[in-house]
Symmetry: C2
Subunit: 700 residues, 2 copies
Amino acid sequence: MNNTLNALLTPKSIVLVGASADINKLNGRPLHNLLRDGYAGRLYAVNPKYQDIAGIPCYPDLDSLPEIPELGVVAVAAERAIGVVAELGRRGVRIAIVFSSGFAEVGPEGRRLEQELVATARAHNIRICGPNNLGLINAFERMPLTFSQYADQPAAPGPVAFVTQSGAFGTAVATRARALGIGFGYFVSTGNEADITAVEVLDEILGDPRVTVTVVYLEGMRDGARLAAVADKALSLGKPLVVIKVGRFAAGKRAAISHTGSLAGEDAVFDGVIRQHGVIRAYDEVHALDLAAAFAACPVPPAGGIGLITMSGGAGVLMSDCAEELRLEVPVLSPHTQASLKSILPAFAATGNPVDVTAQGAVDMSVFGPTLNLVLADPNIGICIVWLQHMHRVADAMVSLFAQTRRDVAKPFIVCWLYAPEAAVAKLREAGVCVVEGTQRSIDAAAGLMEYGEARRRAIAGGRTGLPRGWQPAAAHSDKKSEVVPSIEAMGLLSAYGFGMVASRLAADPNQAAQSAEILGYPVAVKIESPDLPHKTEVGGVRLGLTSKEEVAAAASEVLAAARQHAPNAAIAGVLVQKMATPATEIVLGVRRDPSFGPVLMLGLGGVFIEVLKDVVFASAPVSEADAAFMLQRLRGRAILDGVRGRPGVDRASLTKAICALSQFALDHPEVAELDLNPVFAGPDGAVAVDWLMTRDSSR
Amino acid sequence: MNNTLNALLTPKSIVLVGASADINKLNGRPLHNLLRDGYAGRLYAVNPKYQDIAGIPCYPDLDSLPEIPELGVVAVAAERAIGVVAELGRRGVRIAIVFSSGFAEVGPEGRRLEQELVATARAHNIRICGPNNLGLINAFERMPLTFSQYADQPAAPGPVAFVTQSGAFGTAVATRARALGIGFGYFVSTGNEADITAVEVLDEILGDPRVTVTVVYLEGMRDGARLAAVADKALSLGKPLVVIKVGRFAAGKRAAISHTGSLAGEDAVFDGVIRQHGVIRAYDEVHALDLAAAFAACPVPPAGGIGLITMSGGAGVLMSDCAEELRLEVPVLSPHTQASLKSILPAFAATGNPVDVTAQGAVDMSVFGPTLNLVLADPNIGICIVWLQHMHRVADAMVSLFAQTRRDVAKPFIVCWLYAPEAAVAKLREAGVCVVEGTQRSIDAAAGLMEYGEARRRAIAGGRTGLPRGWQPAAAHSDKKSEVVPSIEAMGLLSAYGFGMVASRLAADPNQAAQSAEILGYPVAVKIESPDLPHKTEVGGVRLGLTSKEEVAAAASEVLAAARQHAPNAAIAGVLVQKMATPATEIVLGVRRDPSFGPVLMLGLGGVFIEVLKDVVFASAPVSEADAAFMLQRLRGRAILDGVRGRPGVDRASLTKAICALSQFALDHPEVAELDLNPVFAGPDGAVAVDWLMTRDSSR
């Protein structure tokens, strides 16, 4: 528990500087809301215009306050806010919410003002949430400290915490959640995040035992490495973390740059790293709230596929389609389950999966109930969806049945009821049963639960449970100058980690090159070796498939001449002579220092997969073997790993080991700025890097 | 107008055979519903147990009826239904709905019964809708001739017609539609489709001027070619056709086979052909109803991208993300539009696209209204989405503004209101404004409108407007024996259509092969030519890159020997000598006779694209140049057509011409059963087929 952050979320006393008696004003509404809901802490207002506001004592200035409040709220114009923050700090208040707008969100002038705000806060030892935010709600403590329209009605507390960088979007999501009966225990708007970030707030909230699910809406990210650490913490606590993060594509990015003060990191890195750490990503607010409701209601699914129970054969096929598109397994039920189902269902009912109970079976609870229990009990099944059409005539019986199953069975199930009576939905929610309207949406929710279950198992396999690793700020490499590491040195560094590298020797001249080739054996490749010519092919610096020392010597002469011609001033170390590796499936591996996430690994498939389809995945170091296997599984072209066109398959075990070795290397060698292994030839006997480019900070 | 089908949808008189007085029974509800809603036609019941049912005269048998009704309804057990159908036919009734279940849906015995039902109906000159269906509703005529629970309340007529193969699914969709205020003018359940299909019903309904949008739910398809013709008709009438079709993947298919009597065609063919013909495919019922509502409310968008207006920068980025994922263009607004926006919006508002009016601009209608009009007027914009968060305080002003814009502006816009007041939604729907809750859903709806607009323009470009082509049943080729067409003959057939084929000559022996090579020029390839060895590589029957007559003669000897060794009984015509073509981008083209759609063309990219990613698209012949361009655009790996890895781009114009030539060839040569052109080398100078395999019906 962080005492300062705790004072933001659960303050025992609050002062509102610039509070108004007009509840239609944004500086009037928070006080009104706090009084309406019966906040139990001590409240003070500061405004020379009033003596009291609705019974709350109002002081002319901070010095007149009878105590030092735990939390300050600044509700004055931007130009005055900095002075108020300084004053709060001087008086010993350690944290403040700054509602004031007119900072980074309005352009360069505002950005300068925001920098001054941050500097002032630091100088006065006070943390800041905001500026330009809506405040927060701690519904457990009846504390609607916000002017968001969401607080126009009291918030019923629930196990979901919601942290949002956008006030407008957050308000819309929260009001929608309320309409769906999803209780937000916390609603926190972090605004411009001049100081405190959504991730930091999340970290603090995870410590509250009343919260079991967290949802965060992000527009930009500074502290990716901390997000990864917080995600690990959430995973080890068994509290699912759902993220909506905008800026998935370039067009989105264009808007993000013009909108927020922080530059969104490359989305592929973000996406890869958060999934590695068990974060479930939502594509929009509907998806996020479906996931929140599902996580709040359902146990974590064990390993296994999805069981589909319908009363309409077509709906079963439709659900299978949606599941297949998301690559969820719809396994055939075990012979035992099928035999049991056949003994209770009509003769023409489908029992394989999807299970179609038929219209007849759907209205008979003595058939329907056992069906759900049998499918949930199947060892191949991790989660079920029960698809219902209209069913108003048996709605009460359905509700009882589902509530009973929820109590009796540890595996999760989702009720996809296309048009349910409102009362039935309310009763089901009360009984902790997850209800989703819409076929695709129910599959999306189940997919999130399954992904989370897999992440938990991966974390256990990778040893990422128990206490999470501490968070270390990522080292920023962007402004450092880097230099190319000589190929033989890079080979030595990587070989020490057991990474397979094609046998290579440096030769100063054609004569030495020929000698090297004789030692290596034929065929060989000859490549120019120069720190100034990292892209060898472009300067005519590569010759492949040489089969005699004469060919090698000639090739060496030629590439040296070509390099000198292309780049007369380049420092040339000689040529690299490499034994030709047997062609195999081309893999691309890489390491980069992400400004937000620190050392990240890239995995891709070579050729058109990377060049045309951008088929790459990222993860942050350390990468466990389970993480590496997950990376392979996420490649769109992964089928190629099993061998195509008569080419043998790739040994996945040795490939995952190679990825882990690279991860360890990246952690042990922070001076290495970038590393490309392109291509790596992977086959049934292992993986070997054929070409590589390593750079390191020249400042080290 | 088809008189028989017209009697199904708009009968002036109906007889219900097996009608019951008990409205809780499925044979009692239709009569009850018809009386409740005030159906104006003449109604008769047949049941020896009653004299009348609720005032409707009830007769002991059909012979006692005072007239020959236009439509019969059979509500008796399966074993009696066949006799009733025969009797109706004998009495001169030309069409009947058969509610009875216990036919193909219950297994082999039921299938035999259904065959008997069809044979009986044919023999007695009566058409059948069903069996195992729920009946239909013609809401315009207050005719709820169904026992579906959807008819438990009267159906308010509207411009959307809905035809469904599944009763349970259809009922759920219809009740949901009613809750959303979407009026179904027709609701038709076609059940097992022993005779009349959903597509045939659709064809008839399209003639009703009160219907402007059609939605169909399909589980299986017999009459694909007719669906394509009906889609053309719908497109030329400007009535969008939305399809939910289950069985997109193998797992789905498994369920479909066990569920319906008809085998779903290969989904890739279905998907390609319907999109070619302007059908909009929905992924589930939520999507289908969003599309129906959007088509009912919105004009067809002109060419152009999507304009996004928000009050939250993040929401704009989120929408851009969703749009980008669907490959919708989010164009930067014109300088003129941007300048106009800057003059009315706050200084820090984003004006590029997405347009962020900011919280301040969102509550000021004198800002918000002109913004929407300016963006809609931009020449780069075809459609707009206005994203609103809570906005309850200015809801009435918003409603007036949108209603006004709907009246004034011909371009479509969708209001994505995350949490709208119910009254506001009702008023907007009344004013013909499309409202969708949910960010992704609003983008999905806009994408459907844009896809439809493009299909209309493609149809105009391809001459597929005006009166649609008539429908011809597809010739079934599945049970015919086919033979391989000699390569040189196939080359001649295709060359006649202007299709580029690599120069090839047939040689009977090694000596002739060498002579052929001398004529063709080097390098050449030598391939075994035998109708019994269509897969030449597998038998060692291919040699490439031969550069002298000696090499050619030796290669010819070798492939002939290899072929004789592999297949001693194969008829061998000799070897094919082919000039080697310059390697270029590999394309795969093909023709097949689809049992449902008739002649269809396949287009794919070679190598891993087709083998690993199954990246192929289909269209049915005739394929216009606009259709061919659309096929190219739908390839996932289409970026490769623009050139990668230093390879030049492909001339798309000559490739589209080649596809059209193949389409014409397929139409002119119905005896050709299958044709593979794999690979076709496509480059900046055109496309040339390097290898091909053609088969034809040996019975011709």
